[in-house]
């Protein structure tokens, strides 16, 4: 609920502020950092207000990433944005199917493991992002 509310409100307002000031790759970078840090920090607090706050940060990261990634995908098409975005949708669905599966398995080992590993994966992905889409390589655009 918190995540959905933040995503809906942020995408209608605050995300535009970021879009005006940052390039696509920088926006994705910011989204990965916010999501990754929120997941890792979720291991620390036991007070509900902090968990809600970190959930909001996680949701804001998602709100940044979803429109920007769709835009980046759409730039690979000349006349068939639908095809490219369908490919993205298929990958989205794969992630949605595998997330709870992996989360459940990791949860049986430790309550913190799903958050720690996914958080590290998100933070580590910034390296791949900058390597492939950083300004030196593609001017920040695909």
């Amino acid at each position: 609920m918190v995540c959905g509310l933040v995503m809906a409100v942020a995408q209608g307002g605050a995300v535009s502020w970021f879009i005006d000031r940052l390039r696509d790759a920088q926006l994705v970078f910011t989204g990965f950092i916010l999501m990754g840090l929120a997941l890792i920090l979720l291991m620390i607090p036991r007070a509900m207000p902090f968990i809600v706050l970190l959930t909001a940060v996680f949701g804001f990261g998602m709100a940044l990433l979803i429109p920007i990634l769709a835009t980046m995908f759409s730039r690979y098409s000349n006349s068939s944005a639908g095809t490219v975005l369908e490919v993205q949708n298929a990958v989205n669905s794969l992630g949605q199917a595998m997330g709870p599966l992996a989360g459940g398995l990791l949860f049986t080992l430790s309550i913190h493991l799903p958050y720690l590993l996914t958080g590290l994966l998100l933070l580590g992905s910034t390296v791949l992002l900058m390597k492939e889409f950083g300004e030196k390589h593609h001017g920040g655009l695909p």
């Binding site: 995540c3 995503m7 990634l69 944005a81 369908e86 459940g104 791949l128």
Partner: protein, 155 residues
């Protein structure tokens, strides 16, 4: 489960096609904002939907109708409402949504497989595929385990 599968199969194309339409209608500099507005609208729907469904399921309509094997009662109201809203959206799409003439590309002779293999040959595209996977993976993992985390936080 079969109905769920059918519903998922039929509705899967809505968001990507809407996103493609937004991509077509916006300039390169405004596309991010267009996608964000679309995401915001979809997010609001996903928030309001469960609340409305919950409310409709609890409203006492007091009557029950039967047609062949189908029983229409209060329990089914959320489904009928969702179906009705989808039909309304379909009518609105037919009436108001038009592809601008300058964007009506000639797609004759365009091979889907050729297009896909051309995309997959590009390293940056293959790398880009990993990012939405990871984002949705993280989101689904978070949603799937949040209830446990909340229990841990309380006890």
């Amino acid at each position: 489960m079969s109905v769920d599968f059918l519903g998922g199969s039929l509705s899967a194309a809505v968001l990507p096609v809407t996103a493609a339409f937004v991509a077509d209608l916006t300039s390169a500099s405004q596309r991010d904002k267009g996608m964000a507005w679309m995401g915001s609208a979809a997010g609001l729907g996903m928030m309001v939907g469960p609340a409305l469904g919950g409310w409709l399921a609890e409203v006492d309509f007091s009557r029950e109708y039967q047609l062949w094997v189908f029983v229409f009662d209060a329990f089914l109201m959320p489904f009928f409402t969702a179906g009705g809203l989808a039909l309304l959206a379909l009518a609105a799409t037919i009436i108001w949504v038009r592809e601008p003439p300058d964007l009506q590309a000639d797609r004759t002779g365009v091979s889907l497989m050729g297009m896909l293999s051309g995309l997959m040959a590009r390293k940056s595209f293959r790398t880009l595929l990993y990012f939405p996977f990871l984002v949705q993976f993280a989101m689904a993992l978070f949603e799937g385990t949040f209830a446990f985390l909340r229990t841990w936080a309380w006890y």
